[in-house]
Amino acid sequence: MVYLEAQNIRKDFNIGFVKNQGALARTLSFLSGKEPTKKLIVLDGVSFKLDGGDILGIIGRNGAGKSTLIRVLSGIYPMSGGSVHKDGNIVPIVGLGYGFHDRLTMRDNILLSSSLLGQSREEIRERLDHIVEFAELGDFVNTKLFQFSDGMKHRMAFSVAIHSSPDILLLDEVFEVGDQGFRSRSSKKILELAAKGSGVILVSHELKMIEEHCRKVLWLENGKVKMIGRTGNVLKYYRDAFPS
């Protein structure tokens, strides 16, 4: 059974104020021991559990630590404390896509990001058509990405992620872009993956989407878990705290 368990995750950033990061300046400030930094605690004591088949929603205001949590869970950032136990491969989508290269074609970008996500060449070759088809970008396979709109890039990233056979899928604000048609197909695909036993974490500002997909919601506030529990319950308090 697929699962993900986070215990007491803590993440600090040392925010530096030194403008010059050259070799000489670094060495001098290291020797004098006077590099001014400020410790910023972005995540503090975050714990939760995700079973296969579950879709967990994460809500919170800007700067609450949602994207950092996704990056820590997927291993992009190291943790400052706590632990993550996982079973299966984690595929995240943070921000707008996978750092695609504007001067490469869509096909090349798909090959590259799928390969970095750990797929073998045969697997990628098999799935390329499905990826393109799901993103509805069949006419643009050999078009360079600088001519794509943000929405197109985003559809492509989402399509790459769900076709990379994720055991645990971490989605950071994927519904904020994309038109109605793509949204409903994505949402169907997410439910389908969950039904097959994958675990999904869904970060969103759109409470309606959270309501539709998640049974459980985690509310992050200033890096701490403000509340975790049944969706209806948590959203009720959240809406009271931040009436729109």
Partner: protein, 252 residues
């Protein structure tokens, strides 16, 4: 084993993409890869063949072997001081082994080296030296690639912390170019050869020249030194890179 395969596959994909990006819109294409070493070779040949080159057998081949090997090393290492920052986008959105990026640099260097070898082959035919030397050269370049990979791993990791390392390295590699016996020979200069001995490139180039020019087994101590240097380089490279790798995403 599975990890090695994934490393090679990712490196290869990255190298192909890197190659595509670099040659976008360039009609001269691969000729660009040849122009630089070709001009360097002709220029140095013109200047030095009469005086420095008189004492060296098959000076043109001696010279060209030195040029293409040093070029290989300098091209790969200078790229490594920039590679992580250039791939900031993927590093901050996917958790993958960043060693593949460094592997791709060395693969690109090997690829352009193939064209330089063709050029070497032509020069060998012109000066009537047996082409067998090129086959003997292949294991040398394999060893040399491992050495270069190690150095690139260290430089790439350090460049994340020292933003101006690319400037420092481009200066250092100019010094290295003159500190390597590319167009001169150290035999007969007691003091100079002692200084040159600390230059790791020296051993690889010496071994390569023995193979290419004379098709003879080089002195065992040179071969041994080359093997030791390559091993140390790759081990130190992997250790240092892995130690810093975790922090790359938040440092760049």
């Amino acid at each position: 084993m599975k990890n090695v395969r994934r490393f090679l596959e990712q490196s290869l994909t990255l190298a192909v993409m890197n190659f595509k990006l670099r040659n976008e819109g360039s009609y001269l294409g691969i000729i660009w890869y040849l122009l630089n070493p070709l001009f360097m070779f002709l220029l140095l040949l013109l200047i030095f063949s009469r005086n420095l080159g008189d004492d060296i057998e098959h000076y043109p081949i001696y010279l060209l072997t030195g040029i293409i090997m040093t070029n290989f090393f300098i091209a790969a290492t200078s790229e490594s001081t920039r590679i992580l920052r250039a791939n900031k986008g993927t590093i901050r959105s996917i958790n993958y082994r960043k060693e593949s990026l460094i592997g791709s640099i060395v693969l690109v260097a090997v690829f352009s080296h193939v064209f330089e070898l063709l050029m070497l082959g032509v020069v060998m035919v012109i000066y009537d030296v047996s082409l067998w030397g090129i086959f003997l050269y292949l294991p040398v370049i394999l060893l040399f690639s491992l050495f270069t990979l190690g150095v690139c791993l260290v430089l790439a990791a350090v460049a994340v912390y020292f933003m101006d390392l690319d400037n420092i390295w481009s200066f250092a590699s100019k010094l290295l170019w003159f500190a390597t016996p590319i167009f001169y020979s150290v035999s007969g200069y007691e003091g100079l050869s002692k200084v040159i001995m600390i230059n790791p490139l020296y051993y690889f180039i010496m071994v390569a020249r023995e193979f290419v020019i004379y098709q003879e087994a080089p002195e065992a101590r040179f071969v041994l030194m080359a093997i030791i240097i390559a091993t140390i380089s790759i081990l130190v490279g992997i250790i240092i890179f892995r130690k810093f790798e975790k922090r790359f995403a938040e440092m760049i």
